[in-house]
Amino acid sequence: MVNVAHLIPLFPFLAFWVNILLGKTLHRASAWISIIASLISMVLSISTAQGFLAGAGSYPLGTWLTFFGQPIAFGVIVDPLTVMMLLVVTVVATLIMIYSVGYMGGDPHFSRYFAYMSLFTASMLGLVLADNLLMLYIFWEGVGLCSYLLIAFWFERPAAARAGLKAFLTTRIGDTGLLLGIFLLFAATGSLSFTDLSKANGPEWMLMAAALLIFSGAVGKSAQFPLHVWLPDAMEGPTAVSALIHAATMVAAGVYLVARCFVLFAAHPVCLEVVAVMGGISALMAASIASVNNDIKKVLAYSTISQLGLMMLGLGVGGYSAGTFHLMTHAFFKALLFLCAGSIIHGVHTQDIRLMGGLFYRMKTTGITFVIGTLAIAGVPPLSGFWSKDEILAQAFGPHPVLFITALLTSFLTAFYMARLMLLVLFGKSRSELQTHESPVTMRFPLVVLSFFALFAGLLGSPWMHHAFQKFLAFQVPYPSEEAPSKFVMGLSIGVSLLGIGLAYSIYILHRRFLPEGIRAQFGWLYRLLMNKYYIDEIYEAVFVQPFLRLCRLSFRFDMAAIDGVVNGIANLVRRAGGILRRLQSGFVQNYLLIQTIGVLIVIMTLLGKLCFQF
C-alpha cells in the first residue's frame, strides 16, 4: 500500500484549516485535532515504510503546470530517504504536539498555535515526499512560512517579530538561489524530477552552478555559514517550536536536500568540496560560539548549527549515509534537548543558565532525559549520537585531513559545551531564588519517548547491527565501505568526547570558583569575539542591511526628486511658458500691432528673403 503516501500530508493540512477557521469554537480541542492528524500521518508513514518493500519510486498524481512543454507533476517519491524522513517527522511532530498541550497551556492563541504546527507538519511531509524540485520548492517555502509564523508567534514581543522577519528573509536569500538553481537545472537537463537526476547530463558548468545554487538553498534553510544568523534569533519562538522546526526537522531539510540531490553533487567533486567546507566552517564556528553563550536556547541553537554543519561535512566528504544517519539521530536527541530546555524554562521562567543550577534534583524526569540527550550529542557510546558522529569522522578520515580535524575539534567542543550546559543547569547549587516545579505529564511523556530514541536509535546504524540503516539507505547510493570502521577513529572520537566532558567538569564543577573567570581574563579578546558571535550580525548590519535601507530611501528620494521631478518639471515648465507668453499680451493695442507687423516681416523674410534680395 504505497499509494497512501500522498495522503500523508493531507491530514495535518486539513487540521490546519479546521483549526484556523474554527479555532475560536474548538479552543482546547484544537490541540487534539492536530495531534490526531499527525498520528494518522504517522500511521500512514509506517504503513508506507512497510509497503516500501513492495516498490519504490515516484508516483505522479497529476499535472500541476506545463513548463516549457514539460508537465510538472504533483507527485510523491517513496524511497528510503523519504521513508526515514517521514518517520522522523511524524514521530517528532506528534510528540512535540503532545508536549505543546502542556507547554502552551495558558496561551490565548492556543488554537492558532496548533494550526500553524499542523501546517508545518503538512508542509514538511510534503517536502520530503515531493518527487521533483519544484514541488519541493513549494513545500520548502511552506515550512519557511510556518517557521516565520511560529517564531513571531508571540507577536507582541518586538524581538519575536524582528526574529521572524530575519528568519524569513535570510532563508529567502538562499531560497532565491535554490529557485535559480532549479531554473538552471531545468535549462541544462530539461527535467526537475529527482529520479532523472542520476541520468542528468548537460553542460558541465551549468550542472555545477545548479548544484551550488541548490546548495545555497540548503545553506539558508540549514542555517549554515554565512546564512546562519537567523537561527539563534529564531529562539524567540515557543521552545516547542524550536524543538520541532529549528532543531529536528525544518533545519534538517537543507541536509535532506543535499542528500536528495546527492548524485548531482557527487558528479562534481568541487561541489562536494564546497558542501564539506561550508559545513566544517559552520560546525566549528557555531560550536565555538556555543561554548561561551549563557542562554540555554541559544546554546542549543548554536549546537544545532554546528551539528548541521557536521552533517553537511559528512555529506560533503561523500558520506551520504553518514550525513543522513546523523540527521536522524540528531533529530531525536536535539528535539529531546530542546524539549527539556522548554520544560526547564517552563519551570524556572528564565533562559539564562547563570541563574540556574541544581535543577536535577527538583525536576527528575527532565533532568534525567536532559542528561541522556547531552550524552547522546556529546558522542558517548553507545548512545545514538556516538554512532552517527563516528560514521562522519570515519568518512572524513584519510582523504580529508583538514576536514577530519575540524570534525574532531567540533566533537570535542560539542562535548565541552553540552557538558557545560548540563552541569550549569542541572548540577551544582542553585544560583538564584527561582521557583521551580516539574512539568505536567503531557510534557514529560514526550521526553521519555524521545530519550528512548536518543538512547537506541543509533544502534540501527552501528556495526553491531551491521550498519542496517546505512544499507537501507544505500538504495540510492551504495554504502561505500563494508569493512569494519577504523578502530582508531572510534577511539579518537570517544577520547575527545570524554575530554570535552572532563574539561567542562573540571572548569564548572571542580574549579568553579576561579577557573571560568580566569580563562575569561586570559583570553579576553577571544571571549569577546565569541560572545559577540564573531560580530557577524554587526557586520551584516553594517555591510548589507543599513546600506540597502539607505539605498531604498535614496531611491525613494530619487523617485520623488528626479523622476517625478522631471515629470512635474515638464508640466511646470509648460505652465510657466504659458505664464511668460501671456505677458506678451501687454494690453496695449499698438504693441499688438507691432508684434503683428514684426510677425509679418519675419514671415516675409523667411519665405521671400531669398527672392527679394536677388538683385
Partner: protein, 161 residues
C-alpha cells in the same frame, strides 16, 4: 509735362504723408494728411481718373478730415502740447516700417512694370454702367454697410441722460 507733374505731386504726397505721421501736434497732422490726400487726388487727375480725384477731394477732404478735426477739437483738452504724442516704441516701429518699405519695394519693383504711355480716360457713363451691372452687388451691399454703420454710430454715440 504730365510726368513732371506726377513726380512733383508724388514727392509732395510722400513728404506730406511723412510729415503727417511725424509732427507732434495732432491738428497739424490732420492738416498734413489733407495735403497728402490732395496730392493723391492730383495723382488721380494725372492718371486720367478725374472722377476719383473729385471724389477724393469731396469725401476725404470734405468729409473725413472735417470729421477728424471735429473729433480733435472735441477731445482737445487732452491733446495739449505738453503730453507726448508718441509711445515708447518709436525706434523699433521706425525700423519695422523701413524694413517693410525695403521689402515692399524690392519685391514690387522686381516686376517688369514698364512705363505706361498714355491712358485714355474711362467715360463716366461707362463707369456708372459697370457700377450698376458688374459691381451692382457690392454696390448694394455697401448701402447695407453704410446703414449699419449709421445705426451703430447713433446707438453708441447717443447717451441717455
Amino acid at each position: 509735362m504730365v510726368e513732371f507733374a506726377i513726380y512733383s505731386i508724388g514727392i509732395g504726397a510722400c513728404v506730406f504723408a511723412i510729415l503727417s505721421v511725424a509732427v507732434r501736434d495732432i491738428f497739424h497732422s490732420a492738416v498734413w494728411l489733407s495735403l497728402t490726400l490732395l496730392c493723391v487726388s492730383g495723382l488721380y487727375f494725372s492718371l486720367n481718373a478725374p472722377f476719383l480725384g473729385v471724389i477724393q477731394v469731396l469725401v476725404y477732404i470734405g468729409g473725413i478730415i472735417t470729421l477728424f478735426i471735429f473729433a480733435i477739437k472735441l477731445t482737445a483738452r487732452i491733446g495739449d502740447k505738453t503730453i507726448a504724442q508718441t509711445n515708447n516704441q518709436v525706434l523699433i516701429s521706425l525700423l519695422a516700417s523701413v524694413v517693410f518699405f525695403v521689402f515692399l519695394l524690392s519685391a514690387i519693383l522686381r516686376h517688369p512694370w514698364g512705363r505706361l504711355a498714355t491712358v485714355k480716360e474711362l467715360p463716366l457713363k461707362e463707369l456708372g454702367q459697370s457700377l450698376l451691372t458688374n459691381y451692382m452687388l457690392p454696390f448694394e451691399f455697401l448701402s447695407l454697410i453704410l446703414l449699419a454703420v449709421m445705426v451703430g454710430a447713433i446707438v453708441i454715440g447717443k447717451v441717455k441722460k
